[in-house]
Structure formats: structure tokens, C-alpha cells
Amino acid sequence: MSDTERPIRPEAISGERYLEVQASPEFQELRSRLRRFVFPMTAVFLLWYATYVLLGAFAHDFMATKVWGNVNVGLIIGLGQFLSTFLITGLYVRFANRELDPRAGAIRAELESEIN
């Protein structure tokens, strides 16, 4: 792979320095916190969505069960998908603001101070 194939990027921070930062405990902490939140959460909402889709495809009678007036189980679970989407969005934003932004900011500030 020749260097000319690389896009032009600011080379102020060396590859060795990136390796060092990547191995640092602060960065590993940030990385694992991010992953420990987003991977399980993704699994949760995909499973919940899959349940809904499978019920919609195969369990018509169950979904048609009336709960309140003409509102049936299918509509309630469907609206539940909206609710869970809004809820997970809120949870993630709170998590990212509290746990990710300060850690990412600290690492970024340190690296930026080295360039300037």
C-alpha cells in the first residue's frame, strides 16, 4: 500500500501516539463504557422490534384482542415501539452527556494541547 493512496490528513499526531492513546487506561475506559451501553441496548431494541414483527406476521388473533374500545393489543404494542424508541433515545442522551462527553473531552484536550 503506497502512501499516495492515503487521503491528505493533518499528520500533527503520529501513528505511534495514537497507539499509545488507544492503549491508555483513560481511552480503554471510554471505549468500554460506550460499548457496554450501546451493544446491549441495540440487542434489546432489536429483539423487541423482532418480537413485534413476528407477532405481526404470525399472531394475528392475539394482536386483534380488544383491550379498550376498538384499541387492541397490536396497536398498544405498536405504540409501545414508539414509546421505547423515545425512551432509549432519552436514556442514551443522558448517558452520553454524563459518561462519554467528559471522558472524550479530556482525552481530546490532552491531545490538542500537544499539537499547539
Binding site: 491528505i8 501513528g15 471505549r31 414483527v53 405481526g56 374500545g69 433515545t89 452520553a96
Partner: protein, 543 residues
């Protein structure tokens, strides 16, 4: 269908529709021209100088994402098939969590103009960029074609232009306006068009929703009951027996149609975060945090909008009735416009019609700038010229590409007018989910991932999706196929995602593990540190 002409001459006043639409064009054109003062640099042209706030970008994303298919199509599907129409909107919404949790912020931190910037970051530039650009162009073209062809049907309904020549002229006008928006306004102009359109669309839908709810004493259950009795009283063959409050009216018939539905659901939920025109929007904000805020706004607006369409769809069934909807010129797509006419007469119909046109314009402009940026930045500058071109040159090539694409889209749109190309939007999502998403996720989260894995996954996903659709009932062998009268289909599902998406994920793993681990660990470290911390991310242009 029983009658074909009943509603087509009765719907509103075409002059009012055209007048309100022209007003939209004039206003957006002024905004675009004002926004275009600084379009000299590539940053300005491709990203609007990365100067939009998260809120603005979130509204623009909603404007980009809520295409005519999701406004007219979903409301219409709910009106006629009931619950099965609602299923679509849930897939379209939940999909945004993939973008929020896994993609948006890391992409913003790593890339510059296009999706390929991220995918090729730590892999071999030319082959990976070429693959990513091929997939970008394919997805954008399918999506573009669906919008342009849909414009023809919309014209028949809203402007009462039923002749083929007249419809072709309108398609050409839409195409020319799109070219002008992109050429003059670049990303900044396109974004403003999308913002204005999103505000109009969501306000219009909200107003109609409140009006429908008020008619039924704010009792949603009564709307459902009225919708079901209207459906049961239908004289159109096959409609009266539908239970529109439960799933199954459209996809319940057989195991094939159930699998078809599951396949579609998979493509919708995984496709959004792989749509190049959606991903490119994240470069228009200054930081990853603003990218996050964009998605939050997009989720709120898109979610609210789909809740409105639920009320509008059932409301249209109850107040307009399935027979009038199916008998109107635009068929299922006419549910929302007919409901507007029922609720607010000529003026409201004019506004909703203009919004529907504005929707097509805003979406096609977003697609065009994405496709032309990818061609100029990925194929021309990187693959053909090995980065030996200036950014001004990239902008120039991109402008030429936009014109060529626009002319191409007008031609294809006129040819495809009247054909059943509704499957193209679902196909675009399927290609995005199969060809793009696996590589996006692997390259952001899997250290060992390498060039062969990326190429196998991208080309495997792209080719398998397209081959399966060509040999599916969507193209031949069915009553509603694109090419009627011939049958060369052997794949039973019109939605190939259930096969091609897992295949692409697996190919990424197999390709990676069968080639030596020879990628540069320094680049991998750089990509990971940059993606998570935002160090070295492209900055907003100072004004």
C-alpha cells in the same frame, strides 16, 4: 377497482395547487440563492460549511427522510390495509436507534464528505472507496428513480394532468428545479429546502390530525370503529372482508407473504443507518455532539409524524372511504390529499399538494448532492486521480455530475412513469442494509476487520440484493410486476433482505478471517481514537 374516474375531476382546484406550489418554489429559491453566497470551497458545497446546528440538521433530516412515499404511501396504506400500513412506519422509526447508538457520532468524527471516507479510513483506499461509491450511487439512483416516477402519479392526482406528455413536462420541471437547487445552493441550499419542507409537512399533518381528532370528539377508538365500518361497507372487491385494526390484511395470506413482510421489516430497520444521503447529513454539523442532537430531533419529529399518519390513515378510511380512495387517480396515494379536501376544501388540499411536491423536490435534491459528492470525492478524486486534484476541482466535477444525474433522472422518471416501481424504495433500503451497514459497523467496532472483508461484504450485499430482486415477483411473473406478461422469477420474495443482509454480514466475517491480518495497526488506532474522542475531526468553517 370499480370506478376509475369518480374522484379525479372532483378533487380541488389545480390552479390553487399549482399556485401554492409555485409560491414554495419562489420562497425556497430566494433562500437558496441567499444561502449560496459562499459556495466556493468543497466544505461549503458538500457540507454547508458544517455550520448547521443539531436542531436545524434534525429538522432537515426529517425533511430528507419523510419522502412522498412515507407521507402519501403510509397514510394511504393505513387507509386501505389498516394495521399493515402502520407496520411500515414502525420500522422506519425504530431504525433511527441504529443510527443514534452505533453510527452517527463516530461517523461525524471520522469522515469528511462521504460515507466512503469512513469505510476506507483504515483499509486500502481505492478498492474500498470504489465499492462504497458504487453502492452509494446504486442506492441513490434507486431512491431517486422511485421519487421521480412517483411524481407522475402525483401530478395526475393533484394537478389533474392526465396526459402522458403533460406529466412528462412536470417530471422535467421537478428535475430541472432539483438541478438548480443543488448547483446554486449546494448542501446549504439543499438543507434549507429540506428544513422549510419539513416544517410545512409536519405542521400540515399536525393540523389535519387535530381536525380529524376533533371530528371524533378526541376519541381515537371511535376513529378506529368508523374506519372499520367504512371498510366493511366497501363495494370494492376484496376490501370489505379486511380487518383493518389487526395485522394481516396485506401480509397475512400465506407463509410467503409473511416471510416477505419479515424481510421488509429487516431491511427497513437496518437500512436507514446505511442510507448515504442520511449519513452525509451528519457532516453538516460542527461536532459529534451536534450530530447526536440531530438524531434526537429527527427521532422526535419523525416519530410524531408517523403518529399523525396513523390518525390520518384511519381518518381517511372513515371520512373519505376506501372506494373513493381506490377509485381516485392516484389510487392508494390519494388518501391524504382526499382527506385534506374533505377537511379543509380547496385551500387545504392546495397546501397539502404543494407540500407533497415540495417533498419530492427536497428528497431528490438531497439524493443528487449525495450521489454527485460521492462521484466527485470518491471516484474522481480518489480512484481516478489518486488525490492529485484540488477541492475546487472536486466541486466542479460534482456540479457536472449533478447535471448529468438530473438529466438521467428526468429521462428515467419519464420512462418509468406509470410503471409499478414502488418496490424501488424498499429496494434502496435493502441495498443500504446489505451493502453498507455491515461494513460501517465492522469498520467502526471490529479491529481485525480488513479490506477483503469489506469488499466481500459490500459487493456480496449489493450483488445478491439486486440479483434476487431481478428474479423476484417484483420484476416479473406477478400481477403487479414491473414487467407484466413474462415470468423469469425463481426467488419467491419481493423483498430480498432476509437473505442478502445476513449474507453480507457473514461475508464480511469470512472475508476478514480468510485474509492475513496485514492492515496498519497505527491507522486502526487513529481511527478508533478519532471516532471516539473527536480529535482531528473536520471543523466547521469560520464565518
Amino acid at each position: 377497482m370499480t370506478t376509475l374516474v369518480t374522484a379525479s375531476e372532483a378533487v380541488g382546484d389545480p390552479v390553487a395547487n399549482i399556485g401554492i406550489f409555485s409560491l414554495f418554489v419562489v420562497v425556497t429559491m430566494i433562500v437558496v440563492i441567499r444561502a449560496s453566497k459562499k459556495n466556493a470551497t468543497a466544505d461549503e458545497f458538500f457540507t454547508g460549511g458544517r455550520g448547521f446546528s443539531g436542531t436545524q440538521n434534525g429538522i432537515a433530516i426529517a425533511g430528507d427522510y419523510l419522502s412522498a412515499a412515507s407521507f402519501l404511501g403510509i397514510a394511504g396504506a393505513i387507509a386501505v390495509y389498516g394495521y399493515d400500513g402502520f407496520l411500515y412506519s414502525i420500522g422506519f422509526l425504530v431504525a433511527w436507534l441504529v443510527a443514534l447508538l452505533l453510527v452517527a457520532e463516530l461517523l461525524r468524527n471520522t469522515g469528511k464528505f462521504t460515507m466512503a471516507d469512513v469505510l476506507s479510513f483504515r483499509l486500502r483506499q481505492k478498492p474500498v472507496r470504489l465499492a462504497a461509491a458504487t453502492s452509494t450511487l446504486t442506492v441513490s439512483l434507486f431512491y431517486l428513480l422511485a421519487q421521480m416516477a412517483g411524481a407522475g402519479g402525483l401530478v395526475a392526482l393533484l394537478l389533474n394532468i392526465n396526459g402522458r406528455a403533460g406529466q412528462s413536462v412536470v417530471i422535467a420541471v421537478v428535475g430541472v428545479l432539483m438541478i438548480v437547487y443543488v448547483l446554486v445552493g449546494g448542501m446549504k441550499g439543499t438543507t434549507w429546502v429540506q428544513i422549510i419542507k419539513a416544517v410545512l409537512l409536519i405542521t400540515g399533518a399536525a393540523f389535519m390530525t387535530v381536525t380529524v381528532l376533533a371530528k371524533f370528539g378526541l376519541n381515537f377508538s371511535e376513529i378506529l370503529g368508523a374506519a372499520q365500518s367504512a371498510i366493511s361497507g366497501s363495494t370494492t372487491t376484496g376490501v370489505a372482508s379486511r380487518d383493518v385494526l389487526a395485522p394481516g390484511a396485506r401480509y397475512g395470506g400465506s407463509l410467503t407473504s409473511q416471510l416477505n413482510f419479515i424481510s421488509l421489516a429487516l431491511a427497513l430497520v437496518l437500512g436507514t443507518a446505511g442510507l448515504p444521503h442520511v449519513l452525509m447529513r451528519f457532516y453538516t454539523v460542527p461536532t459529534a455532539k451536534e450530530a447526536r442532537r440531530s438524531v434526537v430531533w429527527a427521532i422526535a419529529l419523525i416519530g410524531a409524524f408517523y403518529l399523525f399518519t396513523l390518525v390520518l390513515g384511519y381518518g381517511a378510511a372513515a371520512l373519505v372511504g376506501p372506494d373513493r380512495i381506490l377509485g381516485a387517480a392516484g389510487g392508494v396515494n390519494s388518501a391524504a390529499p382526499l382527506l385534506a379536501f374533505e377537511l379543509g376544501g380547496v385551500i387545504l388540499l392546495g397546501v397539502i399538494s404543494a407540500v407533497a411536491f415540495a417533498t419530492i423536490l427536497a428528497v431528490v435534491a438531497g439524493l443528487t448532492i449525495t450521489a454527485s459528492a460521492s462521484f466527485a470525492h470518491d471516484i474522481y478524486a480518489s480512484v481516478m486521480k489518486s488525490h492529485q486534484v484540488t477541492e475546487a476541482e472536486q466541486v466542479r466535477v460534482s456540479r457536472i455530475t449533478a447535471v448529468v444525474l438530473g438529466i438521467f433522472a428526468i429521462g428515467l422518471g419519464i420512462l418509468a412513469n406509470g410503471q409499478n416501481v414502488a418496490f424501488l424504495v424498499a429496494l434502496a433500503f435493502a441495498v443500504a442494509a446489505a451493502a453498507n451497514l455491515p461494513t460501517i459497523v465492522y469498520s467502526l467496532y471490529w479491529k481485525r476487520f480488513n479490506t477483503r472483508g469489506a469488499l466481500w461484504s459490500m459487493y456480496g450485499g449489493l450483488i445478491s440484493t439486486i440479483v434476487l430482486i431481478v428474479f423476484s415477483p417484483a420484476v416479473s411473473g406477478g400481477k403487479t410486476s414491473m414487467i407484466p406478461g413474462v415470468d423469469f422469477s425463481w426467488f419467491p420474495l419481493a423483498n430480498p433482505g432476509i437473505v442478502s443482509i445476513p449474507l453480507a454480514f457473514i461475508l464480511g466475517i469470512v472475508g476478514t478471517l480468510t485474509s492475513p491480518d496485514d492492515e496498519d495497526p497505527k491507522l486502526a488506532a487513529e481511527m478508533e481514537v478519532r471516532s471516539l474522542t473527536g480529535i482531528g475531526a473536520e471543523k466547521a468553517v469560520a464565518h
